[in-house]
């Protein structure tokens, strides 16, 4: 079967078995190795990509189900080499440590922001609940997403205070 869909805005035509995991099609057939395989069973979120605006685990999506759809991977966040605002915020807030979870965290964060997510800590925690960071760097990841989600702060300024119970 030939499957046609778009990846990071460019049309793609793949002649592969329909049950190939989108993760394998991206990494092996399209050489887009920014998307990482973690657990391979939908627990860790490392392989998160965005399909038609929704974040999904690419290890759980067969290629036959993205036919005609629009896929965005971490490479698609900076198509011209300049970092997207969320990537910039990860840099500035120390949102990446070992880096394995980072592409998935970026995609979950991007989907949250694109969906109108506000810089509210509980909402961000829920948005990345399907993404595990083994370095446990969640606080800085949340700060970075909050900074990028905030309409008032430029990506370079510190994150706004987060739902402080005393506030």
């Amino acid at each position: 079967m030939t499957y046609r869909f778009s990846v990071n805005g460019a049309p793609v035509e793949l002649e592969v078995p329909g049950m190939r995991r989108l993760l394998d099609a991206l990494r092996e057939d399209l050489a887009l190795t920014g998307t990482k395989e973690g657990c391979g069973e939908g627990e860790c979120g490392a392989c998160s990509v965005i399909v038609d605006g929704q974040v999904v685990d690419s290890c759980l999506v067969p290629v036959c189900q993205v036919d005609g759809k629009s896929v965005t991977t971490v490479e698609g966040l900076s198509p011209h080499g300049s970092l997207d605002r969320l990537q910039q915020a990860f840099l500035e807030h120390g949102g990446a440590q070992c880096g394995i979870c980072t592409p998935g965290m970026l995609m979950a964060g991007r989907a949250f922001i694109d969906d109108g997510g506000a810089p509210v800590e509980d909402d961000i925690r829920e948005a990345i609940a399907g993404n595990l960071c083994r370095c446990t760097g969640y606080t800085k990841i949340i700060d970075a997403i909050a900074a990028a989600a905030s309409p008032t702060s430029a990506a370079g300024s510190p994150a706004p205070p987060q739902s402080d119970p005393a506030a």
């Binding site: 685990d57 290890c59 979950a108």
Partner: protein, 285 residues
């Protein structure tokens, strides 16, 4: 690399029925959140052939149909969380949907997949039991309905015939019915439940009628606790009733030890969750 079994992606229900009737063994795939783990072959033999239902948009609708809520088998848990009809008429299902996996899973996993996958830990299933849901199955020879209560005869078994597809879930909406839901897992997201429970009732002259108690993860299938329901039927949510119902439930269920929890823990927690739901409903401390 996982195996890549042959797949057929029909564009219409009639086409899907034709494929199912061709004499081969086909495994339907909806959002794939369970089946795509099976193709790794690490948890048992992968399916031989896969029937991809994802293009059957007609199975995704959520609508009111003759006073009942009709949810298409392919409605995802994100669809259910965002559905105004579900929020208004079946908030317990919205609550259950929001406890399933996290965003990545909810964007893909479907109500129909949860039903047909027949895991005893399927988090939406106790709600369907408590809500007297009817499951509508279709095949080339027509449609039939079966109640959720009769749909899971044994571990990972369903009443679906191999030539049938689950089309939609039909949930009656009797006036005054209330449903509450509670899941206990290791953490709030991405956790498979240790105990999951939904209870429904209708208050009538100070007592409860039509009580239904659906549970998951405490038996080989999603189950109703009929004996405990009888304790609550015609009673009120008072402390003595809650004590009696909780004691009955801990005797009635037959949980097992497994990787996620122990039988003892599940027995104690199921009783305690029920007690707390009754306390909340009764408004006493």
């Amino acid at each position: 690399m996982p195996v890549e079994p042959p797949v057929s992606s029909p564009a219409s229900l009639d086409e899907a029925y034709t494929v199912l009737a061709d004499g081969n063994s086909w495994r339907p795939i909806a959002g794939g959140t369970d089946l795509m783990v099976q193709i790794t072959g690490e948890i048992g033999p992968p399916p031989e052939r896969v029937l991809d239902l994802w293009r059957l948009g007609e199975l995704r609708a959520i609508a009111l149909d003759d006073g009942a809520l009709s949810i298409g088998a392919l409605a995802t848990f994100t669809d259910i969380r965002r559905s105004e009809l579900c929020q208004e008429h079946l908030p317990a299902l919205v609550a259950a949907a929001s406890t399933i996996g996290a965003a990545q899973i909810q964007n893909r996993a479907t109500l129909g997949g949860n039903v047909v996958n027949a895991s005893p830990a399927g988090d939406s299933l106790p709600v369907l039991l408590a809500a007297d849901a009817q499951l509508v199955l279709g095949s080339a020879s027509g449609e039939r309905e079966i109640s959720a209560t009769n749909f899971w005869p044994a571990y990972r078994q369903t009443a679906r015939r191999p030539d049938e597809l689950l089309l939609r879930v039909h949930i009656p909406l009797p006036r005054g019915r209330q449903i509450v839901f509670r899941k206990v897992g290791t953490r709030r997201a991405q956790a498979i439940s240790k105990v999951v429970m939904a209870m429904s009732w209708r208050e009538d002259g100070g007592v409860w009628r039509d009580v239904r108690l659906g549970l998951g993860s405490i038996a080989a299938t999603p189950v109703r606790a009929f004996e405990t329901e009888r304790v609550l039927e015609g009673a009120a949510a008072r402390r003595e009733v809650a004590d009696h119902a909780a004691a009955t439930l801990s005797r009635e269920i037959k949980p097992i030890d497994d990787v996620r929890s122990t039988a003892d823990y599940r027995r104690v927690v199921a009783a305690r969750v029920l007690h707390r739901l009754l306390r909340d409903a009764g408004g006493w401390q």
